[in-house]
Symmetry: C2
Subunit: 364 residues, 2 copies
């Protein structure tokens, strides 16, 4: 029985201990202007400095090319399922989407509300647990598509692209929510990247958009001002009051990543954690099963299950008694899932694999 | 020279000391599930209890009629300038708006992007500083208007409605951002109320919608899911990850208001604070001037100015040296403004009026 408790939630997810400690110190201390972070007007120099710090730090981490802009926007990633077509669709109103699992299908569903959607890649029928992902050539992307949308890491399915697709002249657009900052990202390959904060960025209620400047010119002036990437870019993410405290905490997370060695260090640690957990699953002689094909496995959302779903329920209940929480799989997919974002230390993985070995010994 | 510093910002605004103390205790403490408030998945029972608590407490404060629903949504009030017509416009695509100042005009500007807008009340020409507000009969509201929009308190102009208009069968819709929870509200008079959090509710990045259930039936299923009031109501404000920590803090604010005696107590305190500040202005023999007509004056955003704008700048600089901050008027309107929301104690007002008397003595 471990004294510590660990949350393996897919999101909101664990934040680094050092970030929580700094946030506790910084968010509530009233400054010389009588305001703490929660209370400071977004027009104040101190907040503008916080915003500039977060943007600069993130640009450094991403090695951001000069022709890209970073936006901090209120709300989560799902709104971008709709803001994307609002902002980027050209006169043909056509867009391409790759279907790699639950969240990319949610993006398709919202895309259809505004666009003629071409689904250019899909899991083969009858293989829901190990979708084919074809990042090479061969996707039938219409030449007049405004963009091609992918979900490089499927949080629910535990599926990840091993390599990025080549979409030619059609801008590649990606929901990077669960993979953002988990590894270096070749930003120049993308037209636009968006990510909800609550995995590797900071508190829920914030999202980040990284967009190539030329794509900002597509937005109609008739878009609602807070939903226009172009207006948000022109007004430095301050079209209206931004989620000021969440942006402050995001800046602390970016500091923590930089201090820990940047995205290459995050990727190395994430690979090591995932390797240890998948090894425990694959080495269990079938007691535990990882349903995702090895070349598509996510390093941050590790799916597995036991021989039958009744056993999964027993596992979950016992895991909680051992301090291991939020391991239930996505409701639509069932089974178990351990999310191992940047802030999860190896100690958490060891606590989980230790319990898994013990559980197998007793129940196997 | 006071030892304390006070922020009179229009928003994000001061939070109650007791709320900041509870938030500091509660947000960062990891629970038995290994997660603190920032880290807890929104599907967890503990967050659902937090959400239910905030909703129940707010319903109690508002004495909410049974046929109204409360939504907690990511993002600020300005998004609702666009979500309102998206959700509420009928086939005539017509809506009525009363123009009472800067923020209602911003709502009109966004309304025009989707609706045929009828402006049913406007300040008389040449009287920008004291707009006529005509809450009685006589507004030329088209019978086929989907709603009539008002801004009961104009944060920038410092103008407030003395009474609500009678819009007949056309649902009254209100941007209550700066007046929400500052006084009792007769919810049954409204079809829909919305408010950004950063005045009297909690941290920026959250907004509250109070909507009469029958209006939810107007929403098209083609709306983006997170922007549909109907879908948010059906899914308990959890269409996607909500701003969990901001909702937690909002619940603490609702507790604080209830403990302090509810909305009637807030109103009494706000009236007393405003009366003291307006008395200092009106009793200055013209050294300070409040530009808003007495019967339209806001109790929460008090505008004033000196004889010339150069003097305003001197006042601002000296005020800061005396610990009085964020007193600059809205950039479009100039002058000075002191915002006195619920969390501003009388001690803050006294510090301001004390400085004003001293400044007048030295400069008058």
């Amino acid at each position: 029985m471990s004294a510590a408790a660990w949350s393996f939630a897919a999101g909101p997810a664990r934040l680094p201990d050092a970030v929580l400690a700094r946030a506790r110190d910084e968010l509530f201390a009233r400054g010389t202007d009588g305001a703490c972070v929660f209370e400071r007007p977004f027009s104040a120099d101190a907040f503008r400095a916080t915003l500039a710090h977060a943007r600069t730090r993130l640009a450094e981490l991403l090695v951001l090319p000069a022709n890209y802009r970073i936006l901090f926007m209120a709300g989560g990633a799902m709104q971008h399922f709709s803001l994307l077509p609002m902002n980027l669709l050209g006169p043909t109103r056509r867009a391409a989407y790759a279907d790699s699992g639950y969240w990319s299908r949610r993006a398709v569903d919202e895309g259809w509300k505004q666009a003629a959607v071409s689904v250019v890649a899909q899991p083969p029928a009858g293989a829901p647990a190990a979708p084919e992902i074809l990042p090479g050539a061969g996707w039938p992307i219409p030449a007049d598509a405004a963009y091609c949308h992918i979900t490089p890491n499927e949080t629910a399915d535990g599926v990840a692209y091993a390599a990025l697709p080549d979409t030619g002249a059609v801008p590649l657009v990606a929901d990077c929510t669960s993979s953002f900052l988990a590894a270096p990202l070749d930003v120049a390959r993308f037209g636009l990247i968006y990510a909800g904060a609550q995995k590797n960025i900071g508190p829920a209620g914030l999202s980040v958009v990284v967009v190539r400047e030329d794509l900002l010119e597509r937005a109609s002036p008739d878009l609602p001002a807070p939903f226009s990437y172009a207006v948000q870019a022109a007004q430095d993410s301050c079209v209206n009051t931004p989620p000021t405290a969440a942006i402050h905490v995001a800046g602390l997370v970016f500091d923590w990543i930089a201090d820990a060695g940047g995205l290459a260090a995050m990727a190395a640690a994430n690979r090591a954690k995932a390797a240890r957990l998948y090894a425990a699953i694959d080495g269990s002689d079938g007691f535990y099963t990882a349903p995702v094909r090895r070349d598509c496995r996510s390093t941050v959302n590790v799916r597995f299950h036991l021989a039958d779903s009744v056993q999964d329920a027993v596992f979950l209940a016992e895991a909680e008694r051992h301090g291991l929480f939020h391991l239930r799989g996505h409701p639509r997919l069932g089974g178990l899932r351990a999310s191992l974002y940047n802030a999860m230390p190896m100690a958490g993985v060891d606590a989980l694999t230790g319990f898994m070995a013990d559980f197998m010994l007793r129940r196997g």
